[in-house]
């Protein structure tokens, strides 16, 4: 290694952007693992095109991958990039806005043909004038260099050029002084059997790595030191992967079969895809004909004694509304996952939003309360899934688990937990019938929980349904007083879930000018912003709400310790309104509905304004 003239950074944001066919996700993922192996903490986010498969080179076809790596805990994939790799003019045009002023801009100058420029809406090449003066531009004719490096392997031009992403990866690894060995080994495994491609990719990777060296680009090198992380075995994980594994873990902890019924919908489809690959671990998946059938099949499975799960996004949750009412009435355990996307209606299916909280809370006829939990990071989806299932099973209730498009596709390192250290989940299985021979399906325990009697069990046969039931016996009842009682018992049972849950921890002082309340995926960005503001001397604290229902009783008191309560939400104020209603506190929304997470700048500004107001 050469003498370090490298700029040391506490954290760096790197963004790879190219055409959908350019393999940017792969380059990003390899770079990510390398950073992880090197001890950085990190978070990543893929930025896929919304279109089906847009024409090559078009603006709509640009695919990007962003990673933030740090020498400390990193909670978001970062805002503006320190380094942007742009493989063609379209990628440059759509991603330049994501590059910091003075940031490093690596472009494949060989891809800036007249045609490609035109497709990207450039009349003349921005590389030829001072439009990019604000950046440290590094034009590299990757096209030519890759063709050169891969010449020995006899690939056609088009095929050879497929290795350009490895060239870019090589350069990026070099910039951060990372060992390309892992990636070479990976290539060896991945392309085994296709020697020409294997060799080309390796050659391109090495060419990229060496390019920085020979081209005297030492000034663009960056160094991010290892972070202090809890010891253990780690892997990188997306939210949807973690959620799937969490559901599997919950089923095992409960000793139940996992039955997952889904109907494909972006960005929840991967939950079905992932679980469908886990059949060797006993997972049953069912692609239903629609969302209604999916939730009903999950209810049937729950009635049948399994952990019934269904997963969807907003429009699908809407379709499940009626059946969720049934699940509430039946008091059966059920986990309903909503990976939120920008609505209303079809909206922007690939973009993130937190706008289904209201629907999760209230999207059913009648008084139909149920617990709602929101995952706060990709890896947290694992724990949130277990918690959701735990409450569902132990309290005999449907639970809605909220994730979102950012969490689902974003990734971060995950300390793989020791499953045997997790608390088992205890299904409240019905005992034998009472002395009079009768089984009473709505005989509640002290927590208001009814027994779960699995069909097939002799002596416990019973009939239940969506009509109001007499408490204790479960017989149909049109008695008004009983209905009020049952409505109250259903509410109290859900409220009672709160008793078993840890109160949210306040991050910061108990008194101050500003309290930021985060929920779901806003947690990471808010934590960073609050920490930074506190470091700047602002009297700001942070409270994260994990269980959206029941809300922790403590929030009101906590909030009253602050002059201002700000709730950053990717919606129009849905949690804010609940906080105001529950605690009569003058909470205000910092609303963002642009299909993306908050940036630091936005949060910083909100904190400053609140503190000064």
């Amino acid at each position: 290694m050469n003498a370090p003239v490298r700029t040391e950074l506490p954290a760096a944001v790197v963004r790879f952007a190219g055409d959908s066919g350019d393999g940017m996700q792969l380059a990003g993922n390899r770079f990510t693992l390398n950073a992880a192996y090197a001890g950085n903490d990190l978070a990543t986010f893929p930025d896929f095109p919304a279109e089906i498969r847009a024409p090559a080179g078009s603006l709509a076809g640009v695919s990007a991958f962003q990673i933030q790596l740090g020498d400390h805990r990193v909670y978001t994939a970062g805002d503006a990039a320190d380094v942007l790799v742009a493989m063609n003019p379209a990628a440059l045009s759509t991603n330049l806005g994501n590059l910091k002023s003075r940031g490093v801009l690596i472009v494949d100058s060989g891809a800036f043909s007249a045609k490609a420029l035109k497709q990207a809406g450039y009349e003349t090449s921005p590389l030829d004038d001072d439009r990019l003066a604000d950046y440290r531009v590094v034009p590299v004719d990757m096209t030519a260099l890759v063709l050169e490096a891969t010449k020995p392997y006899g690939l056609k031009r088009r095929e050879a050029l497929r290795a350009r992403n490895f060239f870019a990866l090589g350069m990026a690894l070099w910039m951060f002084d990372r060992d390309p060995g892992d990636s070479i080994t990976w290539i060896d495994g991945k392309f085994q059997g296709d020697e020409a491609v294997l060799q080309s990719n390796t050659a391109a990777l090495k060419a990229g790595w060496h390019f920085g060296e020979t081209a005297e680009l030492a000034d663009i090198r960056r160094q991010v030191n290892p972070a202090r992380l809890d010891p253990g075995l780690y892997r990188n994980i997306t939210g949807n992967e973690a959620l799937s594994l969490g559901l599997m873990a919950a089923a095992e902890l409960a000793g139940l079969e996992l039955f997952m019924a889904g109907y494909p919908i972006t960005p929840a489809s991967d939950l079905l895809h992932f679980l469908a690959r886990e059949k060797q671990l006993g997972v049953k998946t069912f692609q239903a004909e629609d969302e209604i059938a999916a939730v009903c099949a999950a209810i049937g499975a729950a009635y049948g004694g399994a952990l019934g799960v269904t997963a969807t996004s907003g429009p699908g949750l809407a379709l499940k509304s009626e059946a969720l009412g049934l699940a509430v009435a039946l008091e059966l355990p059920l986990v309903v996952v909503d990976v939120q996307r920008a609505g209303p209606s079809t909206g922007m299916p690939t973009k993130t939003e937190q706008s289904d909280l209201n629907q999760a809370m209230y999207g059913r006829s009648g008084e139909a309360p149920l617990p709602v939990i929101a995952a706060s990071s990709p890896a947290d989806c694992f724990s949130a899934a277990i918690e959701a299932a735990r409450v569902a099973i132990e309290h005999m209730t449907p639970v809605i688990l909220l994730s979102d498009a950012s969490l689902a596709n974003g990734a971060e390192p995950w300390l793989i937990p020791d499953l045997s250290s997790l608390e088992p989940i205890r299904p409240p299985l019905a005992g034998p019938p009472e002395d009079d021979g009768a089984f009473r399906p709505f005989q509640r325990d002290e927590r208001g929980v009814r027994p779960w009697a699995i069909p097939g069990t002799a002596g416990l046969q019973h009939r239940i349904g969506g009509l109001e039931k007499e408490n204790v016996t479960g017989h149909i009842s049109y008695d008004g007083v009983n209905h009020e009682l049952m409505s109250t018992l259903r509410r109290e049972k859900v409220e009672g879930v709160g008793a078993a849950l840890a109160a949210p921890e306040l991050d910061g002082d108990e008194q101050g000018d500003v309290l930021l309340v985060s929920w779901g995926g806003t947690r990471g960005a808010v934590r960073d912003a609050v920490a930074a503001a506190r470091a700047r001397g602002v009297a700001v604290s942070h409270l994260h709400v994990r269980w959206m229902n029941p809300l922790p009783a403590t929030i009101g008191n906590t909030a009253r310790g602050f002059r201002r309560v700000i709730v950053p939400e990717l919606n129009d104020g849905q949690l804010t309104r609940r906080l105001r209603a529950e605690y009569l506190i003058d909470a205000r929304t910092l609303s963002l509905m642009q299909g993306r997470p908050f940036t630091r700048a936005e949060l910083d500004q909100a904190i400053v304004e609140a503190a000064e107001s």
Binding site: A36, Y37, G39, L229, P231, G232, L233, Y234, R235, L245, M248, A249, E257, F259, K279, Q280, L281, G282, V283, K284, F286, A288, E289, D290, I292, A293, C296, A297, A298, I299, G300, A301, Y303, G304, A306, G308, A323, G325, L415, I416, L419, P432, P433, G437, A438, P455, G456, T457, A458, G459, L460, Q461, H462, R463, I464, G465, G466, L467, H475, I476
Partner: protein, 334 residues
């Protein structure tokens, strides 16, 4: 009587329909055809010596869908039209159960058409009994997808404009592996059809023509005449009254004529889907209504196909799952 003692004593004394009754007062209108169906169903359970705990009746919403409350097995009275989906999930995770679905012409063919269709095509191993009274009973008399054109109802007093669907044809097109029809008023025959459904492995679809004396009295009145009913017997010629049914093999349509005149009466073959389709679509009002098992086929059932792909869960499977968590690239921080 949900009662363990009873369950065990079953072995000893001969079972009767009483053994499958619940304490709940049966509440259909006086004269409703549902009573007769209920009686036959309870008798069937007795006849097959059903263990109460191993049968589940899943229903939707409607007069017909009140069925589960009156049968002392497990029962789930769900939401309108979705019983086949509930049953699919139930059977998938608890395959030893015998799962019955009870639905109506509104529940099963109007709001629940999609769920019915897909459960049939998947050959979910459930027995679907569709009580067809050609009307919405519970909501007090609107037309249903099986109501005849021109039928006056509260929802269209000037007469239904929608062509009815034939449940049996639809079930055949959807891929049901047993398709049958019975009528509430013929108890013995109904018992036989229910038995065929009980014995079938796969998606059995039974249309039961049912009278609703309150909102659609005697739609099947004509069927009281013997020559309006064609009782199908596998391998037997199709005779009714003093007539026989034959097929015009050019137009592929059915023809009825006196037994004497009919050279070649059709012989029923419940394995022939083509024949079943022709029988089902016998639109000609001069022809009798085919009753009995129109079609039966053996093909792999949904939960078995699923089970064939899924490895059984290990009890104490934490170890395998622990390994799974760590599959793929990992690194250790110390």
């Amino acid at each position: 009587m949900t009662n363990l003692a009873k369950e065990t004593s079953q072995v000893d004394k001969p079972l009767s329909r009483k053994d499958y009754q619940t304490d709940l007062e049966v509440r259909w209108c006086p004269g409703c055809g549902d009573y007769a169906i209920l009686a036959q169903f309870q008798k069937l359970l007795a006849a097959i010596g059903a263990r109460k705990a191993e049968h589940v009746v899943v229903s939707g919403i409607g007069c017909s869908s009140r069925f589960p409350y009156y049968i002392d097995t497990y029962g789930l009275h769900g939401i309108h039209g979705r019983a086949p989906a509930v049953a699919t999930g139930l059977k998938a995770v608890n395959p030893d159960l015998t799962v019955w679905v009870v639905t109506g012409d509104g529940d099963g063919l109007s709001i629940g058409g999609n769920q019915l269709l897909h459960a049939l095509r998947r050959n979910v191993d459930i027995k679907i009994l569709l009580f067809n009274n050609e009307v919405y009973g519970l909501t007090k008399g609107q037309h249903s997808p099986t109501s005849p054109e021109g039928q006056r109802s509260r929802s269209n007093p000037d007469g239904n404009t929608d062509r009815p669907v034939d449940p049996v044809s639809l079930a055949l097109a959807a891929g049901a592996t047993l398709v049958a029809r019975a009528v509430d008023t013929d108890a013995a025959h109904l018992q036989g059809v229910l038995r065929a459904a009980a014995d079938h492995r796969g998606a059995a679809f039974v249309e039961i023509l049912q009278n609703c004396p309150i909102f659609n009295d005697t739609p099947f009145e004509a069927m009281k005449f013997e020559d309006r009913r064609l009782y199908l017997e596998d391998g037997a010629p199709m005779l009714f009254g003093d007539q026989a049914l034959s097929l015009d093999r050019d137009t592929l349509t059915l023809r009825a004529a006196s037994t004497a005149e009919t050279a070649e009466p059709l012989v029923h073959d419940r394995r022939s889907k083509a024949l079943a389709r022709v029988l089902a679509e016998a639109a000609d009002p001069s022809l009798p209504t085919p009753l009995g098992v129109l079609y039966a086929e053996d093909r792999p059932v949904h939960h078995e196909l699923m089970r064939a792909q899924v490895q059984p869960r290990e009890s104490g499977g934490l170890g395998r799952l622990q390994d799974r968590l760590a599959s793929g690239p990992t690194w250790r921080v110390s």
